[in-house]
C-alpha cells in the first residue's frame, strides 16, 4: 500500500474486428506513455505534472482521438476539449472549442493556474491561449486522412460516428462500416464505434491524486457540441481519495456524473477503489457504454468498463504493470 500509481487510457468501446496491426500500435503508444509517466513519477514529479505530460504525449500522437488525430465535426474541422483536476484542493481547469492550440490539456492547466476561472471555451479560450503564448498551429494540423475518411463514412451513414479507428487507407475491405458491424454506442444508430478520448490518472508518492482527460469528441458532431471530457465530475475528477478519468458515451457519462460518483461512493459509502469503480460502472450507466481508469491516494489503480474493450495501461510502484484492450 502506498507508493505511486498511474493509469492511462485511449478510449472505451473498441471494434472487435480492429486489425491486429492497429491493436499493436495502440498498445505501443499506451506503453510509451505509461513509461513516460513512470519515469516522471520516479523522478518525484507531482501527480498534476505527470497527468499533464502524459496526456500531452497522447494528444501529440495522431493515433487516438485527441489533439492531432481528433475526430472531426460535421463541418470537417476539429474542436478539442480537455480538463484537468488536482486532488489537492480540487483545483480544476477545462477548455472546449479549441481549434488551434497544439495541446489542449496544457491550456486547461493554464486556465486552472493562470486565470481566475475554471473553464474557458471557443474564442475566449483561443484568446487566452494567445495571451499565454502556448504553441498554436493551424486547425489543419490536427486533421488526419483517416478521420477525413471516417467523417465521410459517418455522413453517408448519416449518423454520429463514435471516433471509429479502423484505418481507411489500404484497408478498404474492412470498411463496410455501415453494413457489417451492428454494434452500437451512444444510443443512436451508429455503424461502428471505437471512441478514443484519452486520459491519465496518477497518485504520486506523496499520495496526491490528479486526473486529466482530452478529446476531439464525437465524429460528425454538431459544431459547438461539448461532451463529458471537459466537464468536472463527469469525465474528470480528482479529490483527496482518488483521481478518475472516463471515456465512452459522453452523454451517459454526464448524466451519470461518473467521475464524481466514484469519489462519492468512496467518501460516503466507504467503498474501496475497485469496488467504487465497479459500482459506478454497473449502477450509474443507465443505457450507456463507458469505461474509466482510477487511482486512489493509497497507491491503488483500478479500471472498469461495460463496453467492448478499453485501450488502457496501468502500473504501480510495487512493479505491477498491464497494457490491454479487451476484457
Amino acid at each position: 500500500m502506498g507508493g505511486w500509481a498511474i493509469a492511462v487510457h485511449g478510449g472505451a468501446g473498441v471494434d472487435p474486428n480492429l486489425p491486429n496491426q492497429r491493436q499493436e500500435q495502440a498498445k505501443q503508444l499506451l506503453t510509451r506513455c505509461l513509461n513516460l509517466g513512470i519515469s516522471a513519477l520516479r523522478s518525484s514529479h507531482s501527480a498534476i505534472d505527470v497527468v499533464e505530460l502524459v496526456v500531452r504525449e497522447l494528444e501529440t500522437d495522431p493515433l487516438f482521438n485527441s489533439g492531432r488525430g481528433s475526430a472531426l465535426t460535421a463541418e470537417g474541422t476539429v474542436e478539442m476539449e480537455a480538463s484537468i483536476m488536482d486532488g489537492c484542493g480540487r483545483r480544476c481547469g477545462a477548455v472546449s472549442g479549441v481549434t488551434t492550440v497544439k495541446n489542449p490539456i496544457s491550456l486547461a492547466r493554464l486556465v486552472m493556474d493562470k486565470s481566475p476561472h475554471s473553464y474557458l471555451a471557443f474564442s475566449g479560450a483561443e484568446e487566452f491561449a494567445k495571451q499565454q503564448g502556448v504553441e498554436m498551429v493551424d486547425n489543419d494540423y490536427f486533421i488526419t486522412e483517416d478521420n477525413v475518411g471516417m467523417l465521410k463514412l459517418a455522413k453517408e451513414a448519416n449518423s454520429i460516428l463514435f471516433d471509429y479507428r479502423i484505418p481507411t487507407i489500404g484497408m478498404e475491405s474492412t470498411c463496410s462500416a455501415a453494413v457489417e458491424n451492428p454494434l452500437q454506442m451512444n444510443g443512436l444508430p451508429i455503424s461502428i464505434y471505437a471512441p478514443e478520448t484519452v486520459g491519465c490518472v496518477v497518485v504520486d508518492s506523496q499520495g496526491r491524486c490528479a486526473a486529466a482527460t482530452s478529446t476531439g469528441g464525437l465524429m460528425n458532431k454538431m459544431s459547438g457540441r461539448i461532451g463529458d471530457s471537459p466537464m468536472i465530475g463527469a469525465g474528470t475528477y480528482a479529490g483527496e481519495l482518488c483521481g478518475v478519468s472516463c471515456t465512452g458515451e459522453g452523454e451517459a457519462i454526464i448524466r451519470g456524473t461518473l467521475a464524481r460518483d466514484v469519489a462519492a461512493v468512496m467518501e460516503y459509502m466507504g467503498l474501496g477503489l475497485q469496488e467504487a469503480v465497479d459500482y459506478v460502472i454497473k449502477k450509474r450507466l443507465d443505457h450507456g457504454f463507458a469505461g474509466m481508469i482510477a487511482v486512489s491516494s493509497k497507491g491503488e489503480v483500478a479500471y472498469g468498463f461495460n463496453s467492448i474493450g478499453m485501450f488502457r495501461a496501468c502500473a504501480t510502484e510495487d512493479g505491477f504493470m498491464e497494457v490491454a484492450i479487451w476484457e
Binding site: R91, H117, L120, M222, I226, G227, Y237, T257, Y268
Partner: protein
C-alpha cells in the same frame, strides 16, 4: 408528499442596506414568479414545464443576472448560459455563450429534446437556435445601464466580482457602504426546482455569469452536477461563485449524500452548503421527491422563494 417548488434569483453579498426602491421590485418579482410556478403546478404542468416557465420569467426580468439584465463580460458583451435536467430519466440540456437568444433555458431544453447531445456552446448554440426558430434579439436587448456601470466599476477595481455591485471601494471595506451609487446587489444566476405530487423532479438554472468575466468563461450553471442537477431523489439549482460550485460538485453532492449516506434533503443540503463549499460562495434551492424544500446559503443573502402543497410559502433575501 405533495408538490413543492423553489426558485432563486442569486446568492451573494447582498447588503441589508439595500434601499427599498431596489429591494421591492426584486421581492415582487420573486413573488410573481413563485405564483406563476405554483399556478402551473396546480394546473398539472410537468415539473420540467414549470421550471422552464419560471426561469423564463426570471430571465425576462432585468433585475436578475440572467437573460435581460445579464452581467457583462470584460468586452462589454453578454454571454448567457443555462441548463435543465429531468429527475427520473436524468436527461439534461445545457447551453453556453449565447448572445442573442431571448431565453437561454428554453434553448437548453431544446438541446435536450431535439439533439443527440447534451451541451452546445457559442456559435454552434446560436446556430442551433436559429435552426429551431427560437426568439432571438439583438444583444443590446440584454444589456442594462446598471450592468454597464457594474462593469465599469469592476474594471476600475480590476477584479472579477460575483455578479454583485457592492460598489468596489477598497478591498478592506466589504460590508455596507452608505455611499453606494446604487446600493444594489444584483446577484446572479436564477434557478428553479420543482416536484409534482407523483414525485417527478426537475431543475433549471440560467445566468449571465460573472461581472467582467473573460470572454468564453463558463461557470457552474451549465455543468451537470455542479450548478444544476436532478435525479429520482431531488432537484437542485445552485448559485454563487461558479468556480467553487464546480469544484464542490454541489448539485450532485446534495443528491449523493441522500443516496449514499441516507441523509435527508435538509441535512444533505446543509452539509454541502455548510461544509463542502467555502463560506460566502454558495446558495441553493432544492426539493425532494417527497415534497420537501430547502433553500440554504452561506453568503450574506440569497433572493429566494418557495411554496409547498400544504400551503407553506416563503420569500426572502437574508437569513431569517
Amino acid at each position: 408528499m405533495g408538490w413543492a417548488i423553489a426558485l432563486h434569483g442569486g446568492a451573494g453579498d447582498i447588503p441589508r442596506s439595500m434601499p427599498p426602491e431596489r429591494r421591492e421590485p426584486r421581492e415582487a418579482a420573486l413573488r410573481h414568479c413563485l405564483q406563476i410556478g405554483v399556478d402551473a403546478i396546480k394546473a398539472g404542468r410537468s415539473p420540467l414545464d414549470v421550471v422552464e416557465l419560471v426561469v423564463r420569467e426570471l430571465e425576462d426580468n432585468p433585475h436578475f443576472n440572467a437573460g435581460r439584465g445579464s452581467v457583462l463580460t470584460s468586452n462589454g458583451t453578454v454571454e448567457m448560459e443555462a441548463c435543465v435536467m429531468v429527475g427520473d430519466t436524468k436527461k439534461c440540456g445545457a447551453v453556453s455563450g449565447l448572445t442573442t437568444v431571448k431565453n437561454a433555458v428554453s434553448l437548453a431544453r431544446l438541446v435536450m429534446e431535439k439533439t443527440p447531445h447534451i451541451y452546445l456552446g457559442f456559435d454552434g448554440a446560436e446556430q442551433f437556435a436559429r435552426e429551431q426558430g427560437v426568439e432571438t434579439l439583438d444583444s443590446s436587448h440584454f444589456i442594462t445601464p446598471e450592468n454597464v456601470e457594474r462593469l465599469k466599476q469592476a474594471k476600475e477595481a480590476n477584479k472579477v466580482q460575483i455578479d454583485y455591485a457592492q460598489p468596489i471601494q477598497r478591498v478592506e471595506e466589504e460590508e455596507e457602504s452608505a455611499s453606494l451609487p446604487n446600493g444594489d446587489s444584483q446577484i446572479g444566476t436564477v434557478g428553479c426546482v420543482a416536484v409534482d405530487s407523483s414525485g417527478n423532479l426537475a431543475a433549471a438554472t440560467s445566468t449571465g455569469g460573472l461581472v467582467n468575466k473573460m470572454v468564453g468563461r463558463i461557470g457552474d450553471t451549465p455543468i451537470i452536477g455542479a450548478g444544476t442537477y436532478a435525479n429520482s431523489l431531488c432537484a437542485v439549482s445552485a448559485t454563487g461563485k461558479g468556480e467553487a460550485i464546480i469544484r464542490a460538485t454541489v448539485g450532485r453532492d446534495v443528491a449523493a449524500l441522500m443516496e449514499y449516506k441516507g441523509l435527508s434533503l435538509e441535512k444533505a443540503a446543509a452539509y454541502v452548503v455548510g461544509e463542502s463549499a467555502p463560506i460566502g460562495t454558495v446558495g441553493l434551492v432544492a426539493v425532494s421527491a417527497n415534497g420537501q424544500v430547502i433553500m440554504p446559503f452561506n453568503t450574506n443573502g440569497m433572493f429566494r422563494a418557495c411554496a409547498t402543497e400544504d400551503g407553506y410559502t416563503h420569500v426572502g433575501i437574508w437569513q431569517d
